[in-house]
Protein backbone atom coordinates (compact mmCIF):
# COMPACT_ATOMS: atom_id res chain seq x y z
CA UNK A 1 0.00 0.00 0.00
CA UNK A 2 1.37 3.33 -1.09
CA UNK A 3 0.06 6.11 1.16
CA UNK A 4 1.63 8.96 -0.80
CA UNK A 5 -0.20 7.94 -3.96
CA UNK A 6 -3.43 7.33 -2.05
CA UNK A 7 -3.16 10.74 -0.36
CA UNK A 8 -2.46 12.46 -3.69
CA UNK A 9 -5.57 10.88 -5.26
CA UNK A 10 -7.66 12.03 -2.28
CA UNK A 11 -6.17 15.51 -2.65
CA UNK A 12 -7.14 15.48 -6.33
CA UNK A 13 -10.76 14.61 -5.49
CA UNK A 14 -10.88 17.23 -2.74
CA UNK A 15 -9.52 19.80 -5.18
CA UNK A 16 -12.17 18.96 -7.79
CA UNK A 17 -14.93 18.96 -5.13
CA UNK A 18 -13.79 22.39 -3.91
CA UNK A 19 -13.83 23.70 -7.45
CA UNK A 20 -17.41 22.46 -7.92
CA UNK A 21 -18.53 23.36 -4.39
CA UNK A 22 -21.42 25.65 -5.27
CA UNK A 23 -22.82 23.25 -7.84
CA UNK A 24 -22.45 20.33 -5.39
CA UNK A 25 -24.12 22.34 -2.64
CA UNK A 26 -27.13 23.22 -4.76
CA UNK A 27 -27.60 19.76 -6.19
CA UNK A 28 -27.29 18.14 -2.75
CA UNK A 29 -29.29 20.43 -0.54
CA UNK A 30 -31.81 22.34 -2.64
CA UNK A 31 -34.29 19.51 -3.08
CA UNK A 32 -34.27 18.23 0.54
CA UNK A 33 -34.53 21.77 1.89
CA UNK A 34 -37.46 22.59 -0.38
CA UNK A 35 -39.09 19.38 0.83
CA UNK A 36 -38.44 20.37 4.43
CA UNK A 37 -39.90 23.81 3.79
CA UNK A 38 -43.08 22.58 2.08
CA UNK A 39 -43.83 19.64 4.38
CA UNK A 40 -42.27 20.93 7.61
CA UNK A 41 -43.34 24.57 7.39
CA UNK A 42 -46.13 25.05 4.86
CA UNK A 43 -48.13 21.85 5.54
CA UNK A 44 -47.56 21.90 9.29
CA UNK A 45 -48.12 25.67 9.51
CA UNK A 46 -51.43 25.42 7.68
CA UNK A 47 -52.57 22.54 9.85
CA UNK A 48 -52.64 19.75 7.22
CA UNK A 49 -49.81 17.97 9.04
CA UNK A 50 -49.37 17.55 12.81
CA UNK A 51 -46.56 19.57 14.38
CA UNK A 52 -44.74 16.38 15.38
CA UNK A 53 -44.12 15.66 11.69
CA UNK A 54 -41.27 18.18 11.73
CA UNK A 55 -39.24 16.04 14.12
CA UNK A 56 -40.13 12.84 12.29
CA UNK A 57 -39.01 14.32 8.96
CA UNK A 58 -35.55 15.55 9.99
CA UNK A 59 -33.74 12.16 10.31
CA UNK A 60 -35.16 11.09 6.93
CA UNK A 61 -33.91 14.27 5.28
CA UNK A 62 -30.42 13.68 6.74
CA UNK A 63 -30.48 10.10 5.45
CA UNK A 64 -31.53 11.16 1.94
CA UNK A 65 -28.97 13.95 1.73
CA UNK A 66 -26.17 11.64 2.83
CA UNK A 67 -27.18 8.74 0.59
CA UNK A 68 -27.65 10.95 -2.43
CA UNK A 69 -24.35 12.79 -1.87
CA UNK A 70 -22.30 9.62 -1.46
CA UNK A 71 -23.84 7.92 -4.48
CA UNK A 72 -23.50 11.03 -6.61
CA UNK A 73 -19.95 11.82 -5.49
CA UNK A 74 -18.67 8.38 -6.47
CA UNK A 75 -20.92 7.24 -9.31
CA UNK A 76 -21.02 10.34 -11.51
CA UNK A 77 -17.26 10.92 -11.83
CA UNK A 78 -16.70 7.19 -12.38
CA UNK A 79 -19.30 7.02 -15.13
CA UNK A 80 -17.64 9.98 -16.87
CA UNK A 81 -14.08 8.79 -16.30
CA UNK A 82 -14.70 5.28 -17.59
CA UNK A 83 -16.24 6.59 -20.82
CA UNK A 84 -14.25 6.45 -24.01
CA UNK A 85 -11.96 9.29 -22.88
CA UNK A 86 -10.76 6.97 -20.06
CA UNK A 87 -9.82 9.92 -17.85
CA UNK A 88 -9.26 7.60 -14.91
CA UNK A 89 -6.29 6.02 -16.68
CA UNK A 90 -3.72 8.34 -15.07
CA UNK A 91 -4.78 7.03 -11.66
CA UNK A 92 -4.89 3.42 -12.86
CA UNK A 93 -1.28 3.93 -13.99
CA UNK A 94 -0.24 5.40 -10.64
CA UNK A 95 2.04 3.12 -8.60
CA UNK A 96 -0.69 1.57 -6.48
CA UNK A 97 -2.93 -1.50 -6.80
CA UNK A 98 -6.01 -0.97 -8.99
CA UNK A 99 -8.40 -1.81 -6.12
CA UNK A 100 -6.94 1.07 -4.07
CA UNK A 101 -8.05 3.51 -6.76
CA UNK A 102 -11.62 2.30 -6.12
CA UNK A 103 -11.18 2.45 -2.35
CA UNK A 104 -9.90 6.01 -2.63
CA UNK A 105 -13.10 6.90 -4.50
CA UNK A 106 -15.11 5.31 -1.69
CA UNK A 107 -13.23 7.24 1.03
CA UNK A 108 -13.73 10.46 -0.90
CA UNK A 109 -17.47 9.66 -1.19
CA UNK A 110 -17.72 8.80 2.52
CA UNK A 111 -16.15 12.14 3.47
CA UNK A 112 -18.51 14.03 1.18
CA UNK A 113 -21.54 12.15 2.53
CA UNK A 114 -20.49 12.89 6.12
CA UNK A 115 -20.04 16.56 5.25
CA UNK A 116 -23.50 16.57 3.67
CA UNK A 117 -25.03 15.01 6.80
CA UNK A 118 -23.34 17.52 9.08
CA UNK A 119 -24.36 20.47 6.91
CA UNK A 120 -27.98 19.45 6.42
CA UNK A 121 -28.68 19.09 10.16
CA UNK A 122 -28.33 22.80 11.03
CA UNK A 123 -29.82 23.88 7.68
CA UNK A 124 -32.94 21.76 8.12
CA UNK A 125 -33.17 22.76 11.74
CA UNK A 126 -33.09 26.44 10.71
CA UNK A 127 -35.87 25.91 8.18
CA UNK A 128 -38.02 23.81 10.52
CA UNK A 129 -37.70 25.61 13.82
CA UNK A 130 -39.40 26.19 16.15
CA UNK A 131 -40.85 22.95 17.38
CA UNK A 132 -38.22 20.39 16.35
CA UNK A 133 -37.54 18.00 19.18
CA UNK A 134 -34.24 16.26 18.43
CA UNK A 135 -31.69 15.11 20.93
CA UNK A 136 -28.51 13.13 20.54
CA UNK A 137 -28.77 10.96 23.61
CA UNK A 138 -26.47 8.24 22.32
CA UNK A 139 -23.68 10.11 20.51
CA UNK A 140 -21.65 6.97 19.91
CA UNK A 141 -24.56 5.17 18.21
CA UNK A 142 -25.33 8.30 16.20
CA UNK A 143 -21.71 8.58 15.03
CA UNK A 144 -21.62 4.90 14.09
CA UNK A 145 -24.92 5.15 12.21
CA UNK A 146 -23.88 8.13 10.11
CA UNK A 147 -20.53 6.48 9.36
CA UNK A 148 -22.27 3.29 8.19
CA UNK A 149 -24.74 5.34 6.14
CA UNK A 150 -21.89 7.28 4.51
CA UNK A 151 -20.09 4.03 3.66
CA UNK A 152 -23.22 2.43 2.20
CA UNK A 153 -23.83 5.48 -0.01
CA UNK A 154 -20.23 5.65 -1.29
CA UNK A 155 -20.05 1.88 -1.91
CA UNK A 156 -23.44 2.06 -3.63
CA UNK A 157 -22.02 4.82 -5.81
CA UNK A 158 -19.04 2.62 -6.67
CA UNK A 159 -21.25 -0.33 -7.61
CA UNK A 160 -23.62 1.82 -9.69
CA UNK A 161 -20.90 3.94 -11.27
CA UNK A 162 -18.99 0.88 -12.50
CA UNK A 163 -22.11 -0.90 -13.72
CA UNK A 164 -24.00 1.61 -15.80
CA UNK A 165 -23.06 3.67 -18.83
CA UNK A 166 -23.47 7.34 -19.47
CA UNK A 167 -26.55 6.86 -21.61
CA UNK A 168 -28.30 5.12 -18.72
CA UNK A 169 -27.86 7.82 -16.09
CA UNK A 170 -31.48 8.88 -16.49
CA UNK A 171 -32.54 5.28 -16.04
CA UNK A 172 -30.41 5.04 -12.90
CA UNK A 173 -32.36 7.93 -11.38
CA UNK A 174 -35.72 6.65 -12.52
CA UNK A 175 -35.22 3.00 -11.64
CA UNK A 176 -32.85 3.08 -8.66
CA UNK A 177 -32.57 6.44 -6.91
CA UNK A 178 -36.21 7.57 -7.01
CA UNK A 179 -37.76 4.28 -5.73
CA UNK A 180 -34.97 4.10 -3.17
CA UNK A 181 -35.90 7.51 -1.81
CA UNK A 182 -39.68 6.98 -1.83
CA UNK A 183 -39.52 3.47 -0.35
CA UNK A 184 -36.67 4.44 1.99
CA UNK A 185 -38.87 5.31 4.99
CA UNK A 186 -37.38 8.80 4.91
CA UNK A 187 -40.70 10.68 4.91
CA UNK A 188 -42.52 8.23 7.19
CA UNK A 189 -41.49 5.61 9.75
CA UNK A 190 -41.25 1.97 8.65
CA UNK A 191 -44.12 1.09 11.00
CA UNK A 192 -46.42 3.33 8.94
CA UNK A 193 -46.29 0.65 6.20
CA UNK A 194 -48.06 -1.93 8.39
CA UNK A 195 -51.26 -1.54 6.40
CA UNK A 196 -49.30 -2.73 3.32
CA UNK A 197 -47.74 -5.93 4.73
CA UNK A 198 -46.12 -7.12 1.49
CA UNK A 199 -44.63 -3.72 0.77
CA UNK A 200 -43.45 -3.46 4.36
CA UNK A 201 -41.41 -6.67 3.90
CA UNK A 202 -40.26 -5.75 0.40
CA UNK A 203 -38.76 -2.38 1.38
CA UNK A 204 -36.35 -4.17 3.72
CA UNK A 205 -34.06 -4.79 0.74
CA UNK A 206 -33.61 -1.02 0.53
CA UNK A 207 -30.58 0.12 2.56
CA UNK A 208 -32.01 3.63 2.89
CA UNK A 209 -34.72 2.16 5.19
CA UNK A 210 -32.05 1.30 7.76
CA UNK A 211 -30.38 4.69 7.32
CA UNK A 212 -33.65 6.55 8.00
CA UNK A 213 -34.74 4.27 10.83
CA UNK A 214 -31.29 4.29 12.42
CA UNK A 215 -31.11 8.08 12.42
CA UNK A 216 -34.66 8.18 13.78
CA UNK A 217 -33.66 5.80 16.56
CA UNK A 218 -30.71 7.98 17.58
CA UNK A 219 -32.18 11.47 17.00
CA UNK A 220 -35.93 11.18 17.71
CA UNK A 221 -36.35 7.94 19.70
CA UNK A 222 -39.87 9.06 20.75
CA UNK A 223 -41.13 7.90 17.32
CA UNK A 224 -41.47 4.23 16.38
CA UNK A 225 -38.35 2.81 14.72
CA UNK A 226 -36.60 -0.48 13.94
CA UNK A 227 -34.43 -1.93 16.74
CA UNK A 228 -31.03 -0.27 16.61
CA UNK A 229 -29.16 -3.61 16.62
CA UNK A 230 -31.04 -4.73 13.51
CA UNK A 231 -30.15 -1.41 11.88
CA UNK A 232 -26.44 -1.84 12.65
CA UNK A 233 -26.38 -5.38 11.31
CA UNK A 234 -28.29 -4.49 8.14
CA UNK A 235 -26.15 -1.42 7.38
CA UNK A 236 -22.97 -3.39 7.95
CA UNK A 237 -24.27 -6.10 5.62
CA UNK A 238 -25.07 -3.58 2.86
CA UNK A 239 -21.70 -1.82 3.32
CA UNK A 240 -19.80 -5.07 2.80
CA UNK A 241 -22.05 -6.31 -0.01
CA UNK A 242 -21.92 -3.08 -2.00
CA UNK A 243 -18.17 -2.73 -1.46
CA UNK A 244 -17.54 -6.27 -2.78
CA UNK A 245 -19.83 -5.78 -5.78
CA UNK A 246 -18.32 -2.35 -6.45
CA UNK A 247 -14.72 -3.58 -6.31
CA UNK A 248 -15.51 -6.47 -8.62
CA UNK A 249 -17.22 -4.20 -11.15
CA UNK A 250 -14.39 -1.66 -10.88
CA UNK A 251 -11.71 -4.21 -11.67
CA UNK A 252 -13.75 -5.48 -14.60
CA UNK A 253 -13.94 -1.97 -16.02
CA UNK A 254 -10.36 -1.05 -15.19
CA UNK A 255 -8.58 -3.95 -16.89
CA UNK A 256 -9.56 -5.31 -20.28
Amino acid sequence: MNWKTFGAMLARDAHVARRNAIQLFLQTFLQPLLFVFIFGRVMVGSGYMPAAYKSLLLPGIIAISMAFTGIWAVAMPLIAEFQWTREIEDRLLAPIGVAWVAIEKVISGVLQALAAGLIVIPLAWLVLRPGVEISIRAPFSFALIILLVAIFSACGGLALGCTIDQQHIGLMFGMVITPMIFFGCAYYPWSALKTFPILQKAVLINPLVYASEGLRATLVPQFPHLPITAVFIALLFFDVLLLCVGLRQFEKKAVS
Binding site: N2, K4, T5, A8, M9, A11, R12, H15, V16, R19, P77, A80, W84, T85, R86, E87, E89, D90, R91, L92, L93, A94, P95, I96, G97, V98, T163, I164, D165, Q167, H168, L171, M172, M175, V255, S256
Partner: protein, 335 residues
Protein backbone atom coordinates in the same frame (compact mmCIF):
# COMPACT_ATOMS: atom_id res chain seq x y z
CA UNK B 1 20.63 2.37 -15.71
CA UNK B 2 18.43 1.66 -18.70
CA UNK B 3 15.65 -0.89 -18.49
CA UNK B 4 14.79 -3.69 -20.90
CA UNK B 5 11.33 -4.85 -21.98
CA UNK B 6 10.54 -8.43 -22.87
CA UNK B 7 7.50 -10.47 -23.82
CA UNK B 8 7.25 -14.20 -24.14
CA UNK B 9 4.58 -15.86 -26.23
CA UNK B 10 1.87 -13.34 -25.38
CA UNK B 11 -1.65 -14.26 -26.34
CA UNK B 12 -4.72 -12.16 -25.90
CA UNK B 13 -8.24 -13.12 -26.85
CA UNK B 14 -10.93 -10.53 -26.18
CA UNK B 15 -14.42 -11.72 -25.36
CA UNK B 16 -16.53 -9.20 -27.14
CA UNK B 17 -18.97 -7.55 -24.84
CA UNK B 18 -21.62 -5.11 -26.01
CA UNK B 19 -20.49 -1.51 -25.65
CA UNK B 20 -23.73 -0.61 -23.89
CA UNK B 21 -23.36 -2.76 -20.83
CA UNK B 22 -24.39 -3.14 -17.31
CA UNK B 23 -27.79 -1.81 -16.55
CA UNK B 24 -29.54 -3.87 -19.16
CA UNK B 25 -28.70 -7.53 -18.59
CA UNK B 26 -26.10 -8.79 -21.04
CA UNK B 27 -27.59 -11.71 -22.88
CA UNK B 28 -24.25 -13.38 -23.58
CA UNK B 29 -23.14 -13.60 -19.96
CA UNK B 30 -25.70 -16.24 -19.16
CA UNK B 31 -25.89 -18.63 -22.08
CA UNK B 32 -22.46 -20.22 -21.68
CA UNK B 33 -19.49 -19.56 -23.86
CA UNK B 34 -20.82 -20.64 -27.22
CA UNK B 35 -22.52 -17.34 -27.95
CA UNK B 36 -19.48 -15.27 -27.01
CA UNK B 37 -17.50 -13.98 -29.94
CA UNK B 38 -13.80 -14.43 -29.27
CA UNK B 39 -11.59 -11.86 -30.89
CA UNK B 40 -7.93 -12.90 -30.99
CA UNK B 41 -5.62 -9.89 -30.81
CA UNK B 42 -2.25 -11.45 -30.00
CA UNK B 43 -1.15 -14.87 -31.15
CA UNK B 44 2.12 -15.74 -29.43
CA UNK B 45 3.96 -12.45 -29.60
CA UNK B 46 7.54 -12.59 -28.30
CA UNK B 47 10.01 -9.76 -28.45
CA UNK B 48 12.88 -8.22 -26.59
CA UNK B 49 13.58 -4.51 -26.35
CA UNK B 50 17.16 -3.74 -25.32
CA UNK B 51 17.87 -1.28 -22.53
CA UNK B 52 18.11 2.27 -23.84
CA UNK B 53 16.90 1.69 -27.39
CA UNK B 54 14.10 3.20 -29.39
CA UNK B 55 12.02 0.24 -30.45
CA UNK B 56 9.15 0.43 -32.91
CA UNK B 57 6.14 -1.78 -33.43
CA UNK B 58 5.06 -1.34 -37.01
CA UNK B 59 1.93 -2.80 -38.48
CA UNK B 60 -1.49 -2.05 -39.90
CA UNK B 61 -4.52 -1.21 -37.76
CA UNK B 62 -5.68 -4.21 -35.80
CA UNK B 63 -2.29 -5.95 -35.93
CA UNK B 64 -2.05 -6.12 -32.14
CA UNK B 65 0.28 -3.17 -31.48
CA UNK B 66 -1.96 -1.40 -28.98
CA UNK B 67 -2.81 -4.65 -27.20
CA UNK B 68 0.91 -5.30 -26.78
CA UNK B 69 1.36 -1.83 -25.29
CA UNK B 70 -1.75 -2.43 -23.15
CA UNK B 71 -0.29 -5.61 -21.66
CA UNK B 72 3.15 -4.05 -21.12
CA UNK B 73 1.55 -1.14 -19.26
CA UNK B 74 -0.67 -3.32 -16.99
CA UNK B 75 -3.89 -2.15 -18.64
CA UNK B 76 -4.69 -5.40 -20.47
CA UNK B 77 -4.64 -8.84 -18.89
CA UNK B 78 -2.83 -11.34 -21.12
CA UNK B 79 -4.77 -14.53 -21.85
CA UNK B 80 -1.46 -16.40 -21.65
CA UNK B 81 2.24 -15.68 -21.85
CA UNK B 82 4.37 -13.30 -19.82
CA UNK B 83 5.87 -9.84 -20.06
CA UNK B 84 8.62 -8.12 -18.08
CA UNK B 85 9.74 -4.54 -17.59
CA UNK B 86 13.26 -4.71 -16.21
CA UNK B 87 13.14 -7.65 -13.84
CA UNK B 88 9.45 -7.24 -12.95
CA UNK B 89 6.65 -9.44 -14.19
CA UNK B 90 4.14 -6.96 -15.61
CA UNK B 91 1.03 -8.77 -14.43
CA UNK B 92 2.25 -9.93 -11.02
CA UNK B 93 4.34 -6.93 -9.95
CA UNK B 94 2.19 -4.12 -11.29
CA UNK B 95 3.10 -1.45 -8.76
CA UNK B 96 6.85 -1.78 -9.37
CA UNK B 97 6.25 -1.85 -13.12
CA UNK B 98 4.09 1.28 -12.98
CA UNK B 99 6.94 3.17 -11.28
CA UNK B 100 9.23 2.41 -14.23
CA UNK B 101 6.93 3.28 -17.10
CA UNK B 102 5.36 6.35 -18.66
CA UNK B 103 2.50 5.94 -21.12
CA UNK B 104 1.28 8.16 -23.93
CA UNK B 105 -2.00 6.64 -25.08
CA UNK B 106 -3.33 6.62 -28.60
CA UNK B 107 -6.27 8.81 -27.56
CA UNK B 108 -5.59 11.56 -25.03
CA UNK B 109 -7.07 10.55 -21.65
CA UNK B 110 -6.40 13.77 -19.78
CA UNK B 111 -8.20 14.49 -16.53
CA UNK B 112 -10.93 16.89 -17.71
CA UNK B 113 -11.63 18.14 -14.20
CA UNK B 114 -8.19 19.77 -13.96
CA UNK B 115 -6.17 22.50 -15.66
CA UNK B 116 -3.10 21.66 -17.77
CA UNK B 117 -0.71 22.52 -14.95
CA UNK B 118 -2.75 20.65 -12.33
CA UNK B 119 -2.70 17.54 -14.53
CA UNK B 120 1.10 17.54 -14.46
CA UNK B 121 1.39 18.41 -10.77
CA UNK B 122 -1.14 15.80 -9.60
CA UNK B 123 0.44 13.18 -11.84
CA UNK B 124 3.79 13.80 -10.14
CA UNK B 125 2.08 13.68 -6.75
CA UNK B 126 0.67 10.22 -7.57
CA UNK B 127 4.30 9.18 -8.00
CA UNK B 128 5.29 10.62 -4.62
CA UNK B 129 7.35 13.52 -5.99
CA UNK B 130 7.74 16.44 -3.52
CA UNK B 131 5.77 19.62 -4.07
CA UNK B 132 8.69 21.91 -4.94
CA UNK B 133 10.13 19.45 -7.42
CA UNK B 134 6.81 18.72 -9.12
CA UNK B 135 6.09 22.39 -9.53
CA UNK B 136 9.49 23.00 -11.14
CA UNK B 137 9.14 20.01 -13.43
CA UNK B 138 5.65 21.03 -14.49
CA UNK B 139 6.89 24.51 -15.43
CA UNK B 140 9.85 23.10 -17.34
CA UNK B 141 7.68 20.67 -19.32
CA UNK B 142 4.96 23.25 -20.03
CA UNK B 143 7.68 25.50 -21.39
CA UNK B 144 9.25 22.75 -23.48
CA UNK B 145 5.91 21.67 -24.96
CA UNK B 146 4.88 25.27 -25.61
CA UNK B 147 1.86 25.09 -23.33
CA UNK B 148 2.81 27.79 -20.83
CA UNK B 149 0.21 30.32 -21.89
CA UNK B 150 -2.57 27.72 -21.51
CA UNK B 151 -1.21 26.29 -18.24
CA UNK B 152 -4.10 27.50 -16.09
CA UNK B 153 -6.83 26.58 -18.58
CA UNK B 154 -9.10 23.56 -18.25
CA UNK B 155 -8.04 21.03 -20.90
CA UNK B 156 -11.56 20.47 -22.19
CA UNK B 157 -11.12 23.21 -24.77
CA UNK B 158 -7.68 22.13 -25.98
CA UNK B 159 -7.02 21.17 -29.59
CA UNK B 160 -6.01 17.59 -30.39
CA UNK B 161 -2.37 18.59 -30.85
CA UNK B 162 -2.26 20.41 -27.51
CA UNK B 163 -3.82 17.43 -25.73
CA UNK B 164 -1.26 15.15 -27.32
CA UNK B 165 1.62 17.39 -26.22
CA UNK B 166 0.22 17.54 -22.69
CA UNK B 167 -0.16 13.73 -22.64
CA UNK B 168 3.51 13.36 -23.50
CA UNK B 169 4.52 15.96 -20.90
CA UNK B 170 2.45 14.11 -18.31
CA UNK B 171 4.09 10.78 -19.15
CA UNK B 172 7.50 12.41 -18.63
CA UNK B 173 6.62 14.07 -15.29
CA UNK B 174 7.88 11.20 -13.16
CA UNK B 175 10.95 10.68 -15.37
CA UNK B 176 10.14 7.05 -16.25
CA UNK B 177 12.82 4.64 -17.38
CA UNK B 178 10.64 3.26 -20.17
CA UNK B 179 8.35 5.47 -22.22
CA UNK B 180 5.54 3.91 -24.26
CA UNK B 181 4.05 5.96 -27.06
CA UNK B 182 1.05 4.51 -28.86
CA UNK B 183 0.73 6.13 -32.29
CA UNK B 184 2.30 9.34 -31.00
CA UNK B 185 2.11 11.40 -34.16
CA UNK B 186 -1.45 10.57 -35.21
CA UNK B 187 -3.32 13.79 -35.79
CA UNK B 188 -0.32 16.05 -35.26
CA UNK B 189 0.53 18.83 -37.67
CA UNK B 190 3.99 18.53 -39.33
CA UNK B 191 5.52 21.17 -37.04
CA UNK B 192 4.41 19.42 -33.87
CA UNK B 193 5.53 16.10 -35.30
CA UNK B 194 9.05 17.47 -35.71
CA UNK B 195 8.94 18.73 -32.10
CA UNK B 196 7.79 15.29 -30.99
CA UNK B 197 10.60 13.53 -32.86
CA UNK B 198 13.14 15.89 -31.29
CA UNK B 199 11.75 15.19 -27.84
CA UNK B 200 11.81 11.43 -28.40
CA UNK B 201 15.45 11.57 -29.51
CA UNK B 202 16.39 13.79 -26.58
CA UNK B 203 14.72 11.43 -24.12
CA UNK B 204 16.57 8.53 -25.68
CA UNK B 205 19.88 10.38 -25.30
CA UNK B 206 19.15 10.65 -21.59
CA UNK B 207 19.51 6.86 -21.50
CA UNK B 208 15.83 5.89 -21.51
CA UNK B 209 14.12 3.06 -23.32
CA UNK B 210 11.34 4.03 -25.72
CA UNK B 211 8.74 1.77 -27.26
CA UNK B 212 6.48 3.28 -29.87
CA UNK B 213 3.86 1.97 -32.23
CA UNK B 214 3.18 3.42 -35.61
CA UNK B 215 1.79 2.59 -38.97
CA UNK B 216 3.86 5.35 -40.48
CA UNK B 217 6.95 3.92 -42.14
CA UNK B 218 8.75 7.23 -42.34
CA UNK B 219 8.42 7.65 -38.62
CA UNK B 220 9.60 4.11 -37.91
CA UNK B 221 12.51 4.57 -40.30
CA UNK B 222 13.53 7.96 -38.91
CA UNK B 223 13.24 7.21 -35.20
CA UNK B 224 13.60 3.55 -34.38
CA UNK B 225 16.83 1.69 -33.84
CA UNK B 226 15.05 -1.63 -34.13
CA UNK B 227 11.64 -2.56 -35.39
CA UNK B 228 9.24 -5.42 -35.08
CA UNK B 229 6.78 -5.77 -37.89
CA UNK B 230 3.56 -7.08 -36.44
CA UNK B 231 0.63 -8.61 -38.25
CA UNK B 232 -2.25 -10.74 -36.95
CA UNK B 233 -0.83 -10.63 -33.43
CA UNK B 234 2.61 -12.02 -34.34
CA UNK B 235 6.04 -10.62 -35.06
CA UNK B 236 6.70 -11.34 -38.72
CA UNK B 237 10.04 -9.57 -39.00
CA UNK B 238 12.50 -8.02 -36.56
CA UNK B 239 15.67 -5.99 -36.95
CA UNK B 240 17.10 -2.55 -37.60
CA UNK B 241 15.30 -0.59 -40.35
CA UNK B 242 18.39 -1.09 -42.51
CA UNK B 243 18.52 -4.86 -41.93
CA UNK B 244 14.86 -5.20 -42.58
CA UNK B 245 15.04 -3.27 -45.81
CA UNK B 246 18.06 -5.31 -46.86
CA UNK B 247 16.02 -8.47 -46.28
CA UNK B 248 13.68 -7.59 -49.14
CA UNK B 249 14.94 -9.56 -52.16
CA UNK B 250 16.88 -7.09 -54.26
CA UNK B 251 15.55 -4.12 -52.43
CA UNK B 252 13.66 -2.53 -55.32
CA UNK B 253 10.06 -3.32 -56.00
CA UNK B 254 8.58 -2.89 -59.47
CA UNK B 255 4.82 -3.22 -59.57
CA UNK B 256 3.86 -3.96 -63.15
CA UNK B 257 0.51 -4.03 -64.88
CA UNK B 258 -0.09 -5.76 -68.21
CA UNK B 259 -3.00 -5.78 -70.59
CA UNK B 260 -2.90 -9.57 -70.48
CA UNK B 261 -0.50 -11.72 -68.52
CA UNK B 262 0.75 -15.24 -69.20
CA UNK B 263 2.65 -17.70 -66.96
CA UNK B 264 5.30 -17.75 -69.62
CA UNK B 265 5.82 -14.01 -69.19
CA UNK B 266 6.36 -14.41 -65.44
CA UNK B 267 9.00 -17.07 -66.04
CA UNK B 268 10.81 -14.89 -68.57
CA UNK B 269 10.73 -11.92 -66.15
CA UNK B 270 12.40 -14.12 -63.57
CA UNK B 271 15.28 -14.78 -65.95
CA UNK B 272 16.19 -11.10 -66.38
CA UNK B 273 19.50 -10.05 -64.86
CA UNK B 274 19.04 -8.55 -61.37
CA UNK B 275 15.55 -9.94 -60.77
CA UNK B 276 15.33 -11.81 -57.48
CA UNK B 277 11.72 -12.75 -57.18
CA UNK B 278 8.56 -12.45 -59.27
CA UNK B 279 5.10 -12.74 -57.80
CA UNK B 280 1.89 -12.70 -59.73
CA UNK B 281 -0.40 -9.96 -58.45
CA UNK B 282 -3.99 -10.85 -59.42
CA UNK B 283 -4.46 -11.61 -63.12
CA UNK B 284 -3.06 -8.54 -64.74
CA UNK B 285 0.05 -7.70 -62.80
CA UNK B 286 3.32 -8.82 -61.30
CA UNK B 287 5.45 -7.67 -58.40
CA UNK B 288 9.11 -7.89 -59.32
CA UNK B 289 11.74 -7.70 -56.57
CA UNK B 290 15.07 -6.75 -58.08
CA UNK B 291 18.37 -5.18 -57.17
CA UNK B 292 17.96 -2.40 -59.71
CA UNK B 293 15.01 -0.21 -60.60
CA UNK B 294 14.56 2.05 -63.64
CA UNK B 295 17.26 0.37 -65.72
CA UNK B 296 15.13 -2.81 -65.85
CA UNK B 297 12.19 -1.09 -67.50
CA UNK B 298 13.39 -1.17 -71.17
CA UNK B 299 14.12 -4.89 -70.88
CA UNK B 300 10.76 -5.57 -69.24
CA UNK B 301 8.97 -3.51 -71.90
CA UNK B 302 10.59 -5.37 -74.79
CA UNK B 303 10.04 -8.71 -73.07
CA UNK B 304 6.36 -7.88 -72.62
CA UNK B 305 6.06 -6.77 -76.27
CA UNK B 306 7.64 -10.00 -77.53
CA UNK B 307 5.27 -12.04 -75.33
CA UNK B 308 2.28 -10.17 -76.70
CA UNK B 309 1.47 -8.56 -73.35
CA UNK B 310 1.32 -4.80 -73.34
CA UNK B 311 2.92 -3.09 -70.36
CA UNK B 312 0.30 -0.62 -69.15
CA UNK B 313 1.60 0.63 -65.82
CA UNK B 314 4.86 0.63 -63.86
CA UNK B 315 5.51 1.73 -60.32
CA UNK B 316 9.03 1.60 -58.96
CA UNK B 317 9.67 1.84 -55.25
CA UNK B 318 13.01 1.99 -53.59
CA UNK B 319 13.84 -0.16 -50.56
CA UNK B 320 11.33 0.76 -47.87
CA UNK B 321 9.47 -0.70 -44.95
CA UNK B 322 6.30 -0.54 -46.99
CA UNK B 323 7.88 -2.96 -49.48
CA UNK B 324 9.02 -5.12 -46.62
CA UNK B 325 5.55 -5.35 -45.20
CA UNK B 326 4.15 -6.13 -48.62
CA UNK B 327 6.76 -8.80 -49.13
CA UNK B 328 5.96 -10.52 -45.83
CA UNK B 329 2.20 -10.27 -45.90
CA UNK B 330 1.20 -9.73 -49.51
CA UNK B 331 -0.73 -6.70 -48.27
CA UNK B 332 0.03 -3.02 -48.17
CA UNK B 333 0.47 -1.38 -44.76
CA UNK B 334 -2.33 0.97 -45.62
CA UNK B 335 -4.82 -1.78 -46.45
Amino acid sequence: MAVAVRTDNLRKVYSSSPPAGGFVARPDTKGGNQSKAKIPALDGLSLEVLPGEIFGLLGPNGAGKSTTIGILTTRVRPTSGQAWIGGYDVWKEQTQVKRLIGVVPQRPNLDFSLTAREILVFHAAYFGIGSKQRSERADALLEKFQLMERATHMVRGFSGGMMQRLSIARAMMHDPQVLFLDEPSTGLDPQTRILLWEIIREYHQAGKTLVLTTHNMDEADALCQRLAIVDHGRVIALGTPKELKASIPGGFLLRLRFGNQTPDLLARLQSLAGVREVRAADNTGADVYADRGGSLIPEIASLAASAGAELSDVHISEPSLENLFLHHTGRSLRD
